[in-house]
């Protein structure tokens, strides 16, 4: 046989093998354990902060699940909210996919709108060990009402601020600020000698809307009132003005922060270069451990009195944080719902919830476990308190778009932040655009947005 022909045959053979391998691999990815009645598919967010601990938790959980039910768990991950939606979208359309999803709380309304998840009735709550075991506040974003819930609270990550106690002591500050104006004043007092009062991430994709939402809630504005957007209201304008003034007028934030994300702002705080780091969660524990501020910081509640006020107005809401964390939802297209509820019951138990806190620093949603942790970790009292004072964002499938509109106001204002001033006219125009976009999204809602 000629060398050329032999080579051609070898190439053809290699191509056939490659195609066959890819096909088999494709089948493996598509089918997974979908048809195996003894394997539960669980999808969660990828954990880049604690990858080793995540693996350990998965092994422990799977072993326990195998012991109690005889079934295996196949773990699947998503690395972004967009990937999360793509997975849900594919599963919803094809009617096959993971049996249980751990989704972010603010994503729960969108998941609810798809109608692809089991609505928890009394039987279902009983199957996961009872609804009463969960902290009442953590159920705030499980569904549009107490009788229509799909989300089973799994982990709580309320937002708080980290405070550099050493810098505060040097500035003679003895009491932590409880109003946004007091926070600005304290930040001003601690801004000196290369230190800034606050570490704020203006270029983060999420932080800006959480600040604005919190300040607006404190003033009694919930951003969405039924089917009406309220972004162009005074309370929201005041919130943006306060947020922008920190870097333009008050000078309490490093000018470089206009290009930062949350991790960069955290790094500045961890270096001991900022007195306050508002908008963080217990996930920052890992970074702060062994840093320049180790032993010199504490967590504190975010202010709950709106800007330009010394006390909360009568209709103001004592919202210390958005209701943040993870909910578990069970797919209604699957045939393994009993197994799914067994899994939820297992990870909702006090022991499992305490173990989850131990590994990842995320607070339990189980009341008993939360009490144990609060008792054993007095330092975390502000975080536990923030969890209790967390308020849900509007339960509408349009929230994702509204959130984007709120962030867009900041993104488009960054060049002005750099030049040192966002004029009232610029701000109002951007708020009007955000209001228009948000209202259009709300107007497009079907089924009342649910």
């Amino acid at each position: 046989m000629s060398t050329g022909r032999r080579r051609t045959r070898a190439l053809v053979g290699a191509a056939v093998v490659a195609v066959a391998a890819l096909t088999l691999q494709g089948c493996a990815v598509v089918d997974g354990s979908g048809d195996d009645p003894d394997t539960l598919r669980v999808m969660m967010a990828a954990d880049t902060t604690y990858p080793k601990e995540r693996k350990q938790w998965q092994q422990e959980t799977a072993a326990e699940f195998k012991r109690t039910t005889g079934a295996d768990i196949q773990w699947e991950t998503y690395s972004s909210p967009q990937e999360e939606l793509t997975a849900i979208q594919t599963s919803v359309i094809s009617g096959q996919g993971p049996d249980v999803y751990a989704i972010g709380t603010t994503f729960t309304p969108t998941a609810y709108a798809t109608g692809a998840f089991v609505e928890m009735g009394s039987d279902q709550w009983r199957a996961v060990g009872g609804k009463d075991q969960f902290d009442a506040a953590s159920l705030g974003i499980s569904g549009p009402s107490a009788s229509k819930q799909i989300g089973i609270p799994f982990a709580s990550r309320p937002f708080v601020m980290a405070v550099n106690t050493e810098l505060l002591a040097q500035a003679g500050i003895t009491e932590l600020p409880t109003t946004w104006d007091a926070l600005t004043a304290d930040a001003d007092a601690t801004t000196r000698d290369g230190h800034f009062g606050m570490a704020v991430a203006y270029a983060d994709g999420f932080d800006p809307w959480k600040f604005v939402w919190g300040m607006a809630e404190n003033a009694g504005n919930t951003i969405v009132d039924g089917s009406k957007a309220e972004i162009s209201a005074d309370a929201v304008e005041n919130a943006y003005r306060t947020y922008f003034d920190w870097v333009t007028k008050d000078g309490v934030v490093d000018p470089a922060a206009i290009g930062w994300n949350n991790a960069q702002a955290l790094a500045q705080f961890a270096d001991g270069k900022a007195a306050f780091f508002p908008m963080t969660t217990t996930t920052s524990l890992n970074t702060l451990k062994g840093s320049a501020v180790d032993g010199k910081y504490q967590y504190a509640l975010l202010p709950t009195v709106p800007p330009r006020a010394t006390e909360r107005p009568a209709d103001g809401i004592e919202a210390a944080s958005i209701l943040s964390g993870d909910n578990l939802v069970v797919a209604d297209y699957g045939t393994k719902q009993d197994l799914s509820f067994d899994f939820v019951q297992q990870v909702s138990s006090p022991a499992a919830q305490e173990r989850y806190f131990e590994l990842f620093g995320q607070l339990p949603t189980n009341t008993e476990a939360a009490q144990t942790i609060a008792r054993e970790n007095p330092d975390l009292a502000p975080i536990v308190q923030a969890g209790k004072l967390s308020k849900p964002t509007a339960f509408t499938g349009a929230w994702s778009d509204i959130q984007l509109s709120l962030v867009d106001v900041v993104v488009q204002s960054i060049p002005s932040l750099k030049s040192g001033e966002v004029t009232d006219d610029q701000l109002r125009k951007r708020l009007a655009a955000a209001q228009r976009d948000a209202q259009a999204t709300l107007d497009r809602q079907k089924n009342g947005g649910l």
């Binding site: 984007l404 962030v407 079907k446």
Partner: protein, 340 residues
């Protein structure tokens, strides 16, 4: 016998046979087993045509998170999504951004790529290493490049520090130039690769002949090298334009979501409509609009190389000889001039 007798008058009546420009019979008249194209045709139908038709259908639906589950029975809205895309969304703005960026980046990468190819054409110690280094921007994953530049372009990043500037690269009007610069950095090696392929096709004897005749470097470049590069460069330009218009990863990683308005490119806009706003129908309409835009340069290219006709693209040997003669004439004049 009868056949011979009848054929002669029929031939006589037949109009003179059309002489094809390249002396070839059109593809559809050639006796070829066209049925053998069937598997490819079926594959094309399944892989391209069916999804395209489904995409067009989705573009006519009010498909969002509320109707996703029963997507086939989502409300039919006809052309409403297209109308909204053009009249009530930033699509036209993003078309302008994407097309202008694409043309700008392609125009910048061609001279860089050609110069790099010419610089490594002649043998020199370490040529292999230089050629490998040239390919680094091309082989790095786009998200790595994006992350890398995102760090460098921070307000207090390496770029501002080194150049002593205070420019906001990742927001505002400068972000357009930042994106263009990063796109140039990542895409010039592609032009370099195709140019290198074109240069490899130049017959060594031609170089020898030119050297013997004492041709200047510019004449050699202008009349020998560049004509050989015309084909590969046309291909490089068209692919670069298409690739740059469709570039999603770099703007997504560099600027995040939402994008500053000066870099609001089409692919990311479509992505936001789909995965942030959950307007699947609208995003499908946007995607179809972008497909049409992308199809324009593709059509021009296909016409230019005649791949969309039944004719083969390549010129005949006779034509090639004529082309060479045309090319050689000015070179010869140059040579004569140089000798004089």
């Amino acid at each position: 016998m009868t056949q011979v007798q009848t054929r002669a008058p029929r031939d006589a009546q037949r109009p003179p046979r059309e002489v094809r420009p390249h002396g070839r019979t059109p593809l559809y008249r050639r006796e070829r087993p066209l049925w053998m194209l069937l598997p490819g045709g079926v594959l094309m139908l399944v892989v391209i045509v069916v999804p395209l038709l489904v995409g067009v259908y989705i573009a006519m639906l009010d498909l969002d998170q509320y109707t996703l589950r029963q997507w086939f029975s989502a409300p039919f809205v006809g052309l409403a999504n297209f109308v909204e895309a053009f009249t009530d969304s930033p699509l036209l703005h993003s078309v302008w951004i994407s097309v202008s960026l694409s043309v700008l980046v392609t125009a910048a990468t061609v001279p860089i790529g050609v110069a790099a190819a010419i610089s490594t054409q002649n043998r020199f110690p370490g040529r292999g290493l230089v050629r490998s280094v040239y390919l680094v921007p091309y082989v790095l994953p786009a998200f790595v490049v994006g992350t890398f530049f995102r760090t460098m372009l921070q307000p207090q990043g390496v770029v501002n520090t080194v150049f002593g500037t205070d420019v906001l690269w990742l927001n505002g009007s400068a972000s357009y130039w930042a994106l263009a610069g990063v796109m140039v950095w990542t895409s010039w090696p592609f032009v370099y690769l195709l140019s290198l392929a074109g240069l490899q096709a130049v017959d060594g004897e031609v170089h020898e002949a030119a050297a013997l005749d004492g041709v200047t470097w510019w004449a050699k470049l202008r009349y020998i090298v560049f004509p050989y590069l015309r084909g590969p460069l046309s291909l490089a330009v068209i692919i670069s334009i298409l690739h740059n218009i469709n570039n999603f990863t770099l703007p997504f990683v560099l600027f995040g979501i939402p994008l500053p308005s000066s870099v609001e490119v089409m692919p990311v806009l479509t992505y936001i409509a789909s995965f942030q706003s959950f307007r699947f129908g609208l995003s499908a309409a946007m995607a179809i609009c972008s497909l049409v835009i992308v199809a324009i340069p593709l059509f021009v290219y296909l016409r230019a190389v005649k791949l969309d006709t039944g004719d083969d693209a390549g010129p005949t040997r006779k034509q090639r000889r004529a082309d060479l003669a045309t090319l050689a004439a000015p070179a010869a004049a140059d040579i004569e001039g140089a000798r004089a």
